[in-house]
Every structure is written in structure tokens, then in C-alpha cells.
């Protein structure tokens, strides 16, 4: 990374971010509930209603996957810029099931070919089935990122995340330079801050450190019961307290396993957590969580850096 990129003033993230799992039938507790939610939210109006409620409660950032339906949400926000003058998207890419299902049905190369633009050097290369060099991986990753970013065109997207399935797959495979490619492309092409979602915070921080990616934004499950916090609660708490990164806490309620006040109190008690992302389907829940976060953040420990 160039020193100029290092010197760019960091984007200040809001304390409260709004998540999108509830809109797309993702519920870690119950498949029935997930289905009920996907029925309710198949109408775009129902989604916008909830986003509007969050907006009215002061939540200005929507952290969302590059799910096909997010394109419709983006259209809405593009159509009414005056209504949401300060609205930000934090795209998270890709929506992995789209890729996984395509690979099962078509095989890896054919799936890649379908997901990439039909014209151009990379498409030709895939067609030829030639071995891929470093620059080719870089080119493919850049095209994939660009494809996912298309739907956010014209909207404010100051942080762009790599989804945890991809982050953790690359982490396990030790394809470390992909983190660097993502980082550089997000910065140079979109002027945005790269972020990484992971279930393996300590391990990822080691790799990002080794790559010289300084003070990365890392979004991870951070909850009192240690649900999907690989390495364990003590390792996470130590990393949050001592390591140089910008943590965003997700799954703070562990899908409802922790009561709201207890859950938020735990996260707000951790120093240096910059933001908390949560999803909710109704105004009452949004207000309750938002109020709790603001109330319990008021007395939070000061950042160490």
C-alpha cells in the first residue's frame, strides 16, 4: 500500500449500523422464522418501510450483502436522494449462495464465466482454460468486485466488506494476497475503506498484520456467550483490547440467546468496538436496540488508540 493511501483520513463509522439478514430469510435460530421473514419482505415496500423506520430513529448506514434484491433497494435510494441525503451503504460481497449454487450446477470455471462480464481478456482466458498467473487472479478478483459493486453505483458506499465465507475460505487456504488485492482495489477504484467479515478474528488479524494492512475494519460476531467466536471469548477480548484494528460487532444477541440489555452491555463494555450492526424487522425493536446502544455507549471505556 502506498503511504498516500495510508494517509487518507479514515472514514468515521456510525456507532449503529443496520443489517439485512432479516430481509433475505437468514435467521440463525429458526428456519420457520426465516421463511416468515422472507414472505413478509418479498415486497420491496415492506423492506423500505423498515429502513425508513431505522432512518427515522437516526440509523444512517445500511450494511448489506450484494444479494440480487439489494439492487431494488439501491434503486429506491437513488430515486429519492433528497429523502436520504446522508445515507450510506456498506456493501458486503458476495452473496455466497449465488456462487455456491452456480458452482454445484455448472462447475467452477463455467460458474466464474457466468458471473463475469462476457467480453474481455479474462473471459477469453477462462474459455481457453489456460493456467492462471498472479495478475490473472488479480484481474478476476477485480472484475468480481466490480460486478458486485454495480448495484451500488451512484450511492455513498464508504466501506466495502468481504463476506465471511470468502474471508475465512481464503484465510484457511492461505491465499493471503487476495486480501491485499481486495484492499487495494476497494481503495483505488472506489475510494472506499476495505473491511473484512470473519468468524476467526485473531487468525485474520495475524494475516492482515503480516500483509501490512494497517488498522483494518473487521466485522465479527462479538457476543457474551462466545457464539461463533473462533479462538474463544478471552482471545477476542484480548484482541479487541490490545490490537490495532477497527472492530464492528455483529450477532451481539447471538440470534436471541442473550437478553437485549445484557447483550448490548457486554459489547459496549469492550473497549474500542467502533460500531454495532444489528437487524430488526419492526420499529419497536429498532428503537429499543438503538436506544440501548446509545444509552450503554455513553459510559463505554475510551479507545486505547
Amino acid at each position: 500500500m502506498s503511504s498516500a493511501a495510508q494517509a487518507t483520513p479514515a472514514h468515521t463509522m456510525d456507532r449503529v449500523l443496520f443489517g439485512d439478514n432479516q430481509f433475505f430469510g437468514v435467521n440463525h435460530m429458526s428456519e420457520e422464522k426465516a421463511r416468515a421473514q422472507s414472505m413478509r419482505f418479498q415486497d420491496l415496500g415492506a423492506i423500505i418501510e423498515v429502513l425508513d423506520a431505522a432512518y427515522e430513529e437516526g440509523i444512517r448506514t445500511f450494511m448489506c450483502t450484494s444479494h440480487d434484491r439489494v439492487a431494488d433497494i439501491c434503486d429506491h435510494f437513488r430515486a429519492y436522494p433528497d429523502k436520504y441525503p446522508d445515507y450510506r451503504f456498506y456493501p458486503c460481497m458476495p452473496y455466497a449462495h449465488k456462487y455456491a449454487n452456480a458452482v454445484t450446477e455448472h462447475g467452477m470455471i463455467e460458474a466464474l464465466r457466468m458471473l463475469l462480464p462476457p467480453e474481455g481478456a479474462v473471459a477469453a482466458m477462462l474459455k481457453g482454460g489456460v493456467a492462471l498467473a498472479t495478475k490473472d487472479i488479480e484481474a478476476i478478483m477485480q472484475l468480481l468486485i466490480d460486478a458486485e459493486m454495480k448495484m451500488f453505483h451512484g450511492l455513498s458506499a464508504p466501506v466495502v466488506f468481504m463476506q465471511n465465507v470468502i474471508t475465512d475460505l481464503l484465510l484457511g487456504l492461505r491465499m493471503n494476497e487476495c486480501f491485499r488485492i481486495f484492499h487495494d482495489h476497494v481503495k483505488s477504484r472506489y475510494g472506499a475503506e476495505p473491511g473484512y467479515i470473519t468468524m476467526n478474528v485473531p487468525r485474520l488479524l495475524d494475516v492482515l498484520d503480516a500483509l501490512g494492512i494497517d488498522n483494518p475494519i473487521v466485522c465479527a460476531n462479538i457476543n457474551k456467550i462466545g457464539f461463533r467466536m473462533c479462538g474463544g471469548v478471552p482471545a477476542y477480548e484480548a484482541a479487541i483490547a490490545t490490537r490495532r484494528f477497527r472492530p464492528i460487532a455483529m450477532s451481539v444477541f447471538a440470534s436471541g440467546a442473550i437478553s437485549p440489555r445484557e447483550a448490548i452491555a457486554y459489547v459496549c463494555g469492550q473497549p474500542r468496538i467502533e460500531s454495532i450492526v444489528f437487524g430488526a424487522s419492526g420499529r419497536a425493536n429498532i428503537r429499543q436496540t438503538n436506544t440501548l446502544i446509545r444509552e450503554l455507549s455513553a459510559s463505554r471505556p475510551l479507545a486505547a488508540t
Binding site: F24, H106, G107, A131, I137, L169, G172, L173, M175, C230
Partner: protein, 358 residues
């Protein structure tokens, strides 16, 4: 460290590769796949020693364990070579396409005291483990019916050209989806001894089944139903559910939760009230050292490593256990007789297990 190699670096293979490489006790020293662009990337970018030829890898590398994640039709010959060389083997599901092959491999592994495991990862999902525990406790009374379901959005239109859509290569919803559901029946309830009313239909695929239905029979009169469809777009991803009915209650489990209904309290489940008891994945999942896609994928690899370390030969998902699932698949294909000796004599006195085991 257990010196380990992998063969097959496709979709499941890459997931296994990531998990194996992250495991503190497994030293992944080589990988093998016929696809050059994949091995090129892995060797150049991750330092993995890669081979395109399986035999060459076995000849060249000193390894103790092998992970097999190739297309299903290649499992049997590759597993045989690995066992002959004295390697412990983790093999992706389904184990084999021909039960006779499987029997030989089970015997071979036994004769060499080698650790074997097949990737039926649902046995490592907290909610399904809980379902198995509840059924084994006897609290549901005599089990008289089980229903196993698996739905998902894999084949949604008339095309597809991978081995998963090829007949005789272990493609189709039967091998890809139904195997999991059948294995869960074996795990949570018992292995059916006969199958009837089998329906295998194509919805979109040209050569293979996209939906599979059938009725399972257990020696004591209990029955089961299998409902599998991988052409159902209403599901976001594969969704598998098992329901078990007994004389004292019922349960339903999926990846997220285990719902139990007890007609009355039972001494085998102290502290569990009559009526509904629901336990969720947050409560039922054990922490894993590395997470990718689900705890179960890591947990099964960790279990394999532990089996190799401790020479556990009769662990979960052994070849013998997975072969039971292959036998049911064979019955569904109408190509095999029931397992020898599996049909028990008529029951003398009815017990909790009467309808399952006779």
C-alpha cells in the same frame, strides 16, 4: 502433526483444504487435482505442493492420512490405493457407488487397523446430535415413524454439465442430497432394512433425478418417509429436517433447532418438562477452532484428526457406517438386496426399540 494429503480440490475439496490447513494437528503437505488452473493457483499462491497424478503423489510423499474429495465414482479406487498403503482416510460422501466395493474397503481398513471417516457432516450438527440423544434416551417411547426431508435450489433449469448431473457418476439428488437425509435416519433412528414406494424423478435434469421419495421399513413395523428435492428455489440453501414420532412424543430437528414434544416427563430426561422443549443452535453448538460455513465442517475434520491420533477405529461416520447409507441408496436404486442378516426375527416382547429393530 499428522502428515496429510488431499485429493480432489473442487467445491467441497477447497472447503476441506481450508479447514485442514487451519487445523493445528494436521500438516497438509500435498494436494492433487487434475485441473491445472486450480493446482497452479494453489501452488503459486499458497505454497502447497500440488500433483495432477494421484499415484505420483502417493509415490512421492510420506503421508499418514488422506482426504478424498473427488467426484463420487473415483472414491472407491482412490480409497483402496490409500488403504493399501496404510493411510488413514477421510472420504467425502457418498462413500461408494457400489456396495460390494464398499464392503471390500471396510474389510481392508479393518485388516490394517486404519481410521476411516466419511463426510456426513450433519452428524456433527448440534441440533441433530441432540435429536439422536433424545431418541436414544427412550423418552419418545416406541418409535413408529420418521420423516427425513432435504430441499434446496441446486438445479433450477434444463442444463448443467458437471459430474453431479451425470448418471453413473454419483450425480443427482439421490447422491447429493438424499444421502444426507438417509444417513440422518441411520444416525438418529436406525438403518431401514427395506425400501418401497420409491419415486425418482427428473424435474429439470436430463439424466439424473432431481426429486427422490420413498418409504422406509424397519423390522419391527416402524416406517419412514424420505422427501428430497434439489430443484426447489424457495429454499435459500440446502435445508434438511428430520422428524421422529414415538408413542410418548415426537421431535423435529434441523440445522438451527431441535423441537421436542413430550406427552409426559420421562426419567431418562431429567429436568425436561412435558410439552414443548426447544433448544437452539446457539446452545447446542460446541465451539470450533476455525469456522467456515458451519461448525460441523470443522468439527468433523477435528474428529478425524483425533481418531488418527488415538487410533479410534469405530468412530462416528466410519466406512462401515457410511456403507449402511450406501446400502439404502442401492435399495432405492433397486439394485441391491437388503443387508445380510439385517432383518431381525420377530420380536418376543415389545420394547422401546421394538418397532425399529424387531
Amino acid at each position: 502433526m499428522i502428515r496429510t494429503a488431499m485429493v480432489g480440490l473442487g467445491k467441497m475439496g477447497l472447503s476441506h483444504l481450508a479447514i485442514v490447513r487451519a487445523h493445528p494437528d494436521l500438516d497438509l503437505i500435498a494436494g492433487c487435482d487434475a485441473t491445472a488452473y486450480l493446482t497452479d493457483i494453489l501452488s503459486k499462491h499458497t505454497g502447497l505442493r500440488c500433483y495432477s497424478d494421484f499415484d505420483r503423489m502417493l509415490d512421492s510423499e510420506q503421508i499418514e492420512a488422506l482426504v478424498v474429495a473427488t467426484p463420487s465414482k473415483l472414491h472407491a479406487p482412490m480409497v483402496r490405493k490409500a488403504l493399501e498403503r496404510g493411510l488413514h482416510v477421510f472420504c467425502e460422501k457418498p462413500f461408494v457407488l457400489d456396495v460390494a466395493d464398499g464392503e471390500r474397503l471396510v474389510d481392508l481398513a479393518r485388516s490394517k487397523s486404519l481410521v476411516t471417516q466419511v463426510g456426513y457432516h450433519y452428524r456433527f450438527v448440534g441440533a441433530f446430535k441432540e435429536a439422536a440423544r433424545l431418541v436414544r434416551s427412550g423418552a419418545l417411547g416406541e418409535i413408529h415413524h420418521v420423516r427425513a426431508e432435504a430441499y434446496g435450489p441446486v438445479v433450477l433449469r434444463r442444463k448443467g454439465a458437471t459430474w453431479r448431473s451425470a448418471k453413473n457418476e454419483g450425480g443427482g439428488a439421490l447422491y447429493d442430497y438424499a444421502c444426507h437425509a438417509i444417513d440422518l435416519v441411520n444416525f438418529i433412528v436406525a438403518t431401514p432394512t427395506s425400501v418401497d414406494g420409491v419415486v425418482r424423478h427428473s424435474v429439470f435434469s436430463r439424466d439424473v433425478d432431481d426429486e427422490v421419495y420413498g418409504t422406509f421399513r424397519f423390522p419391527g413395523g416402524a416406517s419412514g418417509q424420505l422427501c428430497v428435492n434439489w430443484s426447489d428455489e424457495s429454499f435459500r440453501k440446502m435445508s434438511t429436517k428430520i422428524s421422529v414420532w414415538g408413542t410418548r412424543g415426537r421431535l423435529t430437528a434441523d440445522r438451527q433447532e431441535c423441537q421436542l414434544y413430550l406427552r409426559e416427563t420421562h426419567e431418562a430426561l431429567p429436568g425436561v418438562d412435558a410439552g414443548w422443549t426447544v433448544r437452539y443452535t446457539t446452545d447446542l453448538s460446541d465451539e470450533v477452532w476455525f469456522y467456515l460455513r458451519g461448525e460441523e465442517y470443522s468439527a468433523q475434520i477435528d474428529y478425524f484428526a483425533e481418531s488418527v491420533r488415538t487410533r479410534r477405529l469405530d468412530g462416528e461416520n466410519s466406512f462401515a457406517s457410511a456403507l449402511d447409507t450406501d446400502r439404502v441408496v442401492a435399495m432405492m436404486l433397486g439394485a441391491a438386496a437388503p443387508k445380510q442378516g439385517a432383518v431381525a426375527p420377530p420380536p418376543v416382547a415389545r420394547t422401546v426399540w421394538s418397532r425399529l429393530f424387531g
